[in-house]
Symmetry: C2
Subunit: 287 residues, 2 copies
Amino acid sequence: MENPSNYERVDCISTEDGKMNESGFIHLQGGREGGRRTLWLVRSVLDAQAVQHHLSTGQPTLVQENDRFSQWHCEPSLEVTQICPATDADVTKYTTGSSIFQRETADLYAAVTEPYIASLPPVAWVANIINGTAEADRVVGRTDDWLLSVDTKWDGVGRSQLYLCGLAVDSSLRSIRDLRGVHLPQLRALRTEVLRVAKERYNLPANEVLTFFHYQPTFYWLHVHVIATTTPRRGSGFDAWRAILLDDVIDNLTRDAEYYSHASFTYALDTQSGLAKAFAAHVNNDS
Amino acid sequence: MENPSNYERVDCISTEDGKMNESGFIHLQGGREGGRRTLWLVRSVLDAQAVQHHLSTGQPTLVQENDRFSQWHCEPSLEVTQICPATDADVTKYTTGSSIFQRETADLYAAVTEPYIASLPPVAWVANIINGTAEADRVVGRTDDWLLSVDTKWDGVGRSQLYLCGLAVDSSLRSIRDLRGVHLPQLRALRTEVLRVAKERYNLPANEVLTFFHYQPTFYWLHVHVIATTTPRRGSGFDAWRAILLDDVIDNLTRDAEYYSHASFTYALDTQSGLAKAFAAHVNNDS
């Protein structure tokens, strides 16, 4: 059996820009037996021993530092963020068992989530983008009601990692809970503009592009995420208990203009988050 | 700035069984400056150069082989499946640009997906589990209408990677498209049994367990996936364009007994798959 380390050259790698995340395919050319080979590569589970091996052999190099936080690159493929010294709060926050699946009914939204959102400070940085005083150079599309910009998660170059962000102009829309049938025209216009930009600017056909909301989002100014079939999965943003497709939102509102005033959502909630504490306080008040 | 490779011991790793996938947190104790440190580790993008580094320094060891296929482990954390020699078909199949987002309306289901499903051979291996002639030792729960078993993706031990599979007894149920209001009692009983098994057998409370279907599934015998908040994400199984939560299915059928006869779904579809070819043939027939 030909050993995979025995080859002449890497012939092609199965992504447009030669990069892949957690898993992927590459093709090799040559080796003792000659001919082509296809490899499917999967990062295996990291355990404490593998981490020690990585840290001791990978020669971490400092990328940047800021107070207690520093970023390191560890060869061949590990990015390390270090908090040093770590407080008790750090250790608690980053230790297992720190999230739950929350089922949020309309009643729970009214009793817990909506007051929590109302208590947060305004999202000033989005207002700066909307009124054109920041990041104007990143805007790649717009409708009467939405701005479409290159997300900071993407360098704007290799389209296989495409990531755009759409921001609603109307600051009274905080999440999909605020959407009603009256918003259907602007949501359909947004969909049209996303597909136009994807096609004209990035040469991506409609069936290789997907637009979705997050619920819960990380900030409460209504926004959408736009990705390609080839965009790598990172973090929890693509999970079914977080991402809500624009096409589904449009279908649901078409069927029932009040859909999002009575729908239930399930999402993963960090037990140390402000929203989790609001839910915990609500349960204690009820009992 | 303390180098992350300089430490005395790994104090704790932020998963119950010391294992983590794509990213995670660990805590280190000691080092030149002493004290604790928290590290956030993320696998960085693999490019051709990183793959070559891995293969040449990781000393791949053969795990198993079968005809053209072989599995290798490459230190410290890469699993490699090799196809050697690779055919033109292999190279095409595993090269970029091979999936699309398919929006399946009820009409498209009737015209394309349903006939495709009907053309497939019966799922014999599930029948063997249902009638008790195979894998009986993996069954951990049951209702009148469902069997609940330990999924092959999980070793059944470290509950932080919990993965159960529920199989419908009724072989006429092929996917969630076949579910109607009449199935609500069995879906609610399934939910109750999942939560009972999670609590009694694995000591997991209801808000740390989630049950979902896949659409499209990999085989057409109705089944559910059961995970914990801590179960690592692997592959595409948790994506919003694949996973459909049991709680949402129950809500939708409660509101509308015929919901899944008219709903639309978006899913990622490999362009080389049988279903993608059926869609392509349908488009050609229409034009």
